[in-house]
């Protein structure tokens, strides 16, 4: 039993920290706050230039062949600093799907330029009417010779204004059973038949609803077999859930520990001298530790040749609910000051507590709601019968 990450992983974390210090500027941070878009082209291209877009990938595809336990050190660091990695994340996830399920031709068409940082790819799974029930997608794809014609809409298309492509789950066979009539495509977002409307959210993140009107894609853009889109999705969803949550909680913890150990500007008292504050910070530290270890356990499962299905669901469920619980607890604890907003100069702990609370409202939903995660843990972890 060894709970420490390897020296190689810790050196890689150091490299990540140096990259962030060099490339993640205060202007970028300000821009994220103003636009709600967690992507920056300069930052993204710098990642690509240094081979850091997907270091976990094999070297032949532009990666560094890093293990998952090395990647987790790297990802923890980027998450803790709030670096703009959302489009990087979705792009690499889609490239992973293409690598696992796509044709050789599609791989050659998309992977090299994406790894050079030339474009990013958004996610088009959920729809206005389908939410977590991803397989209920109604967006239609109809074959027309060597092309497919797509009509429908996708919800929460984050980074649609930045992305060149979207991975899309469509219905190709409306008469087949729900999971059996789906097919996955890569669809260009610069097609005149695509309309993007902004959706503003409680955490300040800007996402979108996207509409597709007779958008034509060549058959080469199909991932996997016709009507086998659900198999492709399962690969994708496991990737989406198995990431770490460490960075979000560490951010909150750092801000609150700094607040608690800094004399109050008015009367000079130290918040940490209050026993209730001390115990609350201890609980936050404990839950933070658990979040870190859950993320590393999933990485260990991958490195051992497994797929972190249940472990990934636990990481996502626990991580997002810790942020929710701790955000609420510290907003309460800070009293009236607790509602001073993130980055408001007078806010205690930089307003990270109220931000955590807002962030958690999205985090407990995207990537499968907490209820979906509990279903997965109950069925696949505990062996309980499927039910409603």
């Amino acid at each position: 039993m060894d709970f420490r990450l390897s020296d190689v992983a810790e050196t890689f974390r150091q490299q990540a920290a140096e990259f962030i210090a060099q490339h993640f500027t205060p202007e970028m941070e300000q821009q994220i706050l103003e636009t709600g878009i967690h992507h920056n082209w300069d930052f993204h291209r710098a990642l690509a230039a240094e081979g850091l877009l997907a270091p976990g990938w094999p070297e032949e595809f532009g990666g560094q062949g890093r293990s998952d336990l090395e990647m987790i050190a790297f990802n923890e660091e980027f998450q803790r600093e709030g670096a703009p990695m959302m489009a990087q994340g979705t792009t690499i996830m889609v490239l992973n799907i293409i690598l696992h399920c796509g044709s050789k031709e599609l791989q050659e068409l998309l992977i090299p330029p994406a790894m050079r940082g030339e474009f990013v790819i958004a996610l088009g799974f959920t729809e206005p009417e389908s939410g977590s029930d991803v397989a209920a997608a109604q967006t239609r794809a109809v074959r027309d010779g060597d092309e497919w014609v797509i009509n429908g809409s996708k919800m929460f298309t984050t980074n649609a204004t930045e992305a060149k492509y979207i991975i899309m789950l469509t219905r190709t066979n409306p008469t087949a059973a729900k999971h059996a009539g789906l097919t996955t495509f890569i669809v260009p977002l610069d097609d005149p038949g695509v309309e993007v409307q902004p959706v503003h959210t409680i955490s300040g993140e800007r996402t979108n609803i996207t509409y597709y009107n007779d958008v034509r894609v060549p058959d080469v853009m199909r991932i996997g077999d016709v009507d086998k889109g659900w198999d492709v999705m399962n690969v994708g969803l496991t990737f989406e859930r198995s990431g770490t949550w460490d960075g979000y909680v560490v951010r909150l913890q750092r801000a609150l520990e700094t607040w608690a150990t800094t004399p109050d500007p008015v009367d000079g008292h130290l918040p940490i001298e209050d026993d209730v504050t001390l115990a609350k910070l201890g609980r936050l530290a404990a839950e933070c530790e658990a979040v870190t270890l859950l993320g590393r356990r999933s990485a260990w499962v991958v490195d051992s040749g497994g797929m972190p299905g249940v472990e990934g669901s636990m990481t996502k469920l626990y991580g997002s609910e810790v942020i929710l619980r701790q955000g609420q607890d510290f907003v309460n604890h800070l009293g009236a000051d607790g509602v001073r907003l993130l980055n408001e100069p007078t806010a205690p702990a930089k307003g990270e507590a109220e931000f955590a609370l807002r962030f958690a409202l999205g985090a407990t939903t995207y990537g499968g709601t907490s209820e979906i995660q509990r279903d997965i843990i109950a069925r696949h972890g505990l062996g309980l019968p499927r039910g409603r």
Binding site: M1, D2, G282, R283, A285, L317, Q373, A378, L384, P385
Partner: protein, 288 residues
């Protein structure tokens, strides 16, 4: 097994003892295992001043336990294994003392049917004094919290197993009750908390030797998380038994009672969390 081979033991690490403690919890063992192991390790850490009593403990001549709280009004309160121990180690200020337990003592009726007692401190002798003795005693508290945390993970694991078995078999409204999300989601939450607590509890035991700088903070975290997790797991499982869970006949009540009472000998989860944060800020202020 808890002390070094030189001292007459097997040289077990705290991680070894943690795996034993996990089984102890899983089978709701009723021997004062954790207290005796932690007391023996404390005696070894105290060196010469603890050697005689350690030898007597290892030979079975003395049953030694640990007072988790200082003396209050001339009494040591809620001493674990206090009804059967012959010697109690406790701390008062800069001193670590040993108390020869009086022959006459009253068992305190308690929620966990534990052999706890309140003992008068009259006649206690100073065993060792000074910063090193105090540090040795505080490490004993950290070790007790760590082993208790691991025992509680055993309670969580078995509670969830019992609950899962029950809700798969028990039918209501024509289906197994485990197919209701109101039931399965509660167990999924309990399993998630139990996994989280187990990771930190094992990490704490591992850190005692491998990452000693962080041992004290991890011990407090493990104690707090495992207490919460074991109470959640045993309550959920008991509750999904319906009225049967309320009956003494079903095993789940044993787990619920222990999950409440065992950690309470030291205190509530916040006792662990506050200790953890104090140790953590202390470490960070030293730049470690």
């Amino acid at each position: 097994m808890a002390v070094s081979e030189a001292a007459g033991g097997w040289g077990a690490t705290l991680l070894d003892l943690a795996l034993v403690a996990e089984q102890h919890g899983r089978h709701v063992g009723s021997a004062p295992l954790i207290e005796a192991q932690v007391a023996a390790r404390l005696l070894e850490r105290l060196g010469v001043s603890g050697a005689e009593l350690l030898a007597a403990q290892l030979s079975g001549e003395e049953v030694v336990t640990l007072g988790l709280h200082g003396s209050r009004g001339g009494m040591l309160e809620m001493v674990p294994a206090g009804t059967l121990a012959t010697r109690v180690l406790f701390r008062d200020g800069n001193d670590v003392l040993v108390l020869a337990a009086p022959a006459e003592r009253t068992r305190i009726e308690n929620l966990g049917k534990m052999p706890v007692a309140d003992l008068p401190t009259q006649g206690a002798q100073v065993l060792s004094s000074g910063p090193e003795a105090v540090a040795a005693f505080e490490t004993a508290i950290d070790e007790w919290m760590t082993l208790m945390a691991n025992a509680l993970t055993g309670i969580s694991d078995r509670s969830i197993e019992i609950g899962v078995e029950y809700v798969k078999e028990r039918h209501a409204f024509g289906v197994p009750i485990g197919s209701f999300q109101a039931v399965s989601h509660g167990l999924a939450t309990a399993r998630t908390w139990a996994d989280s607590a187990k990771l930190v509890s094992r990490e704490a035991a591992w850190a005692a030797d491998a990452d000693s700088e962080r041992f004290a903070e991890l011990a407090g975290m493990a104690f707090g998380l495992s207490t919460d997790a074991a109470r959640e797991a045993s309550f959920r499982s008991l509750h999904y038994h319906g009225g049967y869970g309320f009956m003494l006949e079903y095993d789940i009540q044993l787990y619920w009672h222990r999950a409440q009472a065992w950690p309470a000998q030291l205190g509530n989860p916040d006792v662990g969390f506050a200790r953890a944060e104090r140790a953590r800020l202390n470490r960070l202020s030293k730049g470690a």
